[in-house]
């Protein structure tokens, strides 16, 4: 794997839109070509070379390309790794909105926090967030009923609200706590919160699996406990309280059995 390192020269005055910073856009290009890739602040069109010091070289394909992003002010850069299909991106710091949005493959590591709308409608690949995530992580874009389809997101810290709205597939693992509206309208996929969630977990859920180890401050009325069961989750076995829901929502049948969403909390 070949590596390109880009280092911010200055903190953006407003916010820098960095849709060009993906292995797909860098692959097979010369240093000059990479420096000529577009980025923008509001209506001002710049090139990556205007804002970043660029060193190293990319691979011939996205899969062979790694990008390391350094510098003060990465938290004012949007769209790192958005739409990437392969390769690796590492951001040494906090990244702003839309980080890894619409990602299809490859590995994206953020060594700080990510702001809202990151990992939107992820299709595949792996995203590691070492800090916390804000709101709408791995959610669906406004109005779309097709949320995250696949891939793995791991957050070491907390997440905000609206995690995984309309989720269809894939896995999100949060080591910390979550705020409100987790897995709203979920139709598949797996969400694991190892801390606790404030409220409204699995609201309007049709299908899918949501684990909230430390439980919620307030449970949705549409969830009913059916049993306790030992399940292996993320490599560890625990006994969980198992709930089905959201019973306020329409549920379809498969082979005569009604399909519900499931909510799991640790049995104390």
């Amino acid at each position: 794997m070949e590596t390109v390192t880009i280092t911010l020269k200055a903190v953006p005055d407003l916010y820098l839109e960095c849709e060009s910073v993906t292995p797909d856009k860098f692959a097979g290009k010369t240093a000059a070509e990479i420096a000529a890739l577009p980025c923008s602040v509001g209506k001002c069109n710049y090139t990556l070379g205007d804002w970043f010091e660029i060193s190293g070289r990319p691979g011939a394909t996205a899969a062979d390309t790694k990008i390391i992003v350094n510098g003060k002010g990465t938290d004012k850069c949007k769209y790192f790794g958005a739409w990437m299909t392969a390769g690796e991106v590492v951001v040494n710091g906090t990244a702003d909105m839309f980080t890894g949005a619409w990602m299809e493959g490859g590995k994206l590591t953020i060594k700080g926090d990510v702001r809202s709308f990151s990992g939107l409608q992820m299709k595949g690949g792996e995203m590691i967030i070492e800090g916390r995530a804000w709101n709408y992580l791995a959610a669906a874009y406004r109005g779309d009923w097709r949320g995250m389809q696949g891939g793995l997101i791991r957050v070491k810290g907390d997440v905000g609200s609206d995690l995984g709205t309309f989720m269809n597939g894939g896995t999100i693992i949060v080591e910390g706590n979550a705020d409100i509206h987790i897995g709203t309208h979920a139709e598949g996929g797996t969400i694991i919160i190892k801390g606790k969630a404030h409220r409204r977990v699995g609201g309007q859920m049709v299908k899918g699996e949501i684990y909230v180890y430390q439980g919620c401050d307030v449970m949705m009325p549409g969830f009913k406990k059916i049993e306790e069961r030992e399940i292996e989750v993320d490599g560890e076995k625990h006994v969980f309280n198992v709930f089905i829901g959201d019973l306020g929502e329409r549920h379809s049948k498969s082979k005569g059995e009604v399909i519900y969403g499931h909510l799991y909390t640790l049995k104390e």
Partner: protein
């Protein structure tokens, strides 16, 4: 002697009553009396003649005082401010006519701004819910003629839309509802007993911020499943009573407001409410209508919709595409995150309504407020441009809360020299064209690149 102008459309709230009668003096310069309006509407018409009306643009000086300047100078300042900004915000639009909004959009596209309207701090939550889940709705006349079950949830029309209940929702005798109020059952759901609750047949007191859970409970009951003994402070029996009242009706309409849009979860509360109404359609006819506050916030959204495809929070700053992402392209977020570097406040009072952090930012960037009167926003702006009052001094199209468009009327002339919003934006646009031509560039992006070089 006075003359009476009939069928005047009141330009205050989203009820957009169109039966006002306004008496004007014989010389057409003064409003003498208003009939049929509620107290708020009447004041809108009667206050325009009060002394102290601003008739010239006011530019902030070094010492913080304001000095009158000409419209020409103001237009030049506005054009230059917008061209110099990398990402300006143009916010408001909700208390002016659609013609002005269209002229504003043309300008915004040209100078690469973000266009946002008052929905962003009001029924934007409802619009997000509609985007996620749809909206079974109807016009207000359908409610008048057919509805026999009315639910007011998190709204207080007795105060906010004073004639709503007599024109549409509780008292009128319609085609299929000749008994008027006697043929209707009114349910009010709120966390406190409002004046609207006092008129209702059934009052459901809900714990604040439990609306989403209560809708979930109602939907669960509707599906014949069990719920806990109490949800959101409401006993199960009461929730079952609400479900039964709705199912036994022939036409249910839910009206809702800030109690849902602004409490925990915001758009999710409305989303679940919409789905409750949708589920009810399996049993009987059910619809819902958002109690839009401003008289043309709906129109601001309609024009933005047919021109760019979005109801609010429309980012045109890239000049080559329109983007919409509430939470990112919405005014409060743009200001709090320091993502915009200039601001135009038009037909609204940002400083009076926005969270303090947002207002603080607005005060520190170049700001122009366009408003007939002095407001909190004007006093934090670099420039205040006065304009004519829509529905009083200029007509134009406005959209009611149920999206019905009505042409407002002009009753009297604006004070001498005061222009309309529409004319103002067209002139700023023309000045921008001149400046671009002078700089020999094709668009606002090239203009800034040339300035930066």
């Amino acid at each position: 002697m006075t003359k009476t102008i009939k069928n005047v459309i009141c330009t205050f709230c989203g009820t957009l009553c169109d039966d006002l009668e306004v008496d004007v003096s014989d010389d057409g310069k003064k409003i003498v009396q208003v009939r049929n309006a509620c107290a708020i509407g009447a004041e809108k018409y009667l206050h325009v003649g009060n002394p102290g009306r601003v008739v010239l643009p006011r530019m902030r000086q070094e010492d913080g005082t304001y000095k009158d300047i000409s419209y020409e100078e103001a237009i030049d300042f506005a054009a230059k401010t917008l061209l110099k900004a990398k990402k300006p915000l143009l916010y408001g639009w909700s208390s002016t006519n659609c013609e002005a909004i269209a002229a504003g959009n043309t300008l915004a596209e040209k100078i690469g701004g973000v266009v946002d309207n008052c929905a962003t701090v009001c029924h934007g939550s409802s619009l997000l819910a509609i985007q996620d889940t749809g909206v079974p709705s109807c016009t207000l006349g359908e409610v008048k003629n057919r509805a026999d079950r009315i639910i007011f949830w998190g709204c207080n029309p007795a105060h906010a839309h004073p004639r709503h209940m007599s024109r549409y929702s509780i008292f009128p005798r319609g085609f299929f509802s000749a008994k008027g109020q006697k043929g209707r059952k009114i349910i009010c759901v709120d966390c406190r007993e409002t004046d609207t609750a006092k008129i209702a047949d059934t009052f459901v007191r809900i714990k604040q911020s439990y609306d989403y859970e209560v809708f979930d409970a109602l939907r669960t009951l509707l599906r014949g499943e069990e719920i806990p003994d109490e949800v959101g402070g409401v006993p199960r029996e009461k929730l079952q009573e609400v479900v039964d009242i709705c199912k036994s009706g022939r036409f249910v309409t839910l009206f809702f407001g800030m109690g849902l849009t602004h409490t925990l979860g915001r758009n999710h509360n409305i989303d679940n409410g919409i789905n409750f109404i949708r589920d009810l359609n399996d049993y009987t006819k059910a619809t819902l209508i958002a109690m839009r506050g401003h008289y043309n916030v709906t129109g601001a959204g309609q024009v933005l919709g047919w021109q760019y495809g979005f109801p609010f929070a429309c980012d045109l700053s890239r000049l080559t595409m329109a983007r919409h992402n509430p939470g990112e392209t919405t005014s409060v977020d743009l200001l709090v995150r320091h993502e915009v570097d200039a601001c135009v406040v038009i037909a609204s009072d940002l400083a009076a309504h926005f969270p303090f952090e947002a207002t603080r930012r607005m005060a520190h960037i170049p700001t122009i407020t366009i408003d007939p009167h002095i407001s909190m926003s004007t006093e934090l702006s670099d420039l205040h441009i006065p304009v004519a009052i829509v529905g009083v001094e200029v007509g134009g199209c406005c959209y009611r809360m149920d999206n019905v468009p009505i042409e407002t009327r002009k009753c009297i002339d604006a004070p001498d020299g005061v222009i309309t919003d529409e004319e103002l934006f067209k002139r700023i646009s023309a000045r921008v064209d001149e400046l671009l031509a002078e700089a020999d560039v094709k668009n606002a992006s090239e203009y800034l690149a040339k300035m930066e070089a």
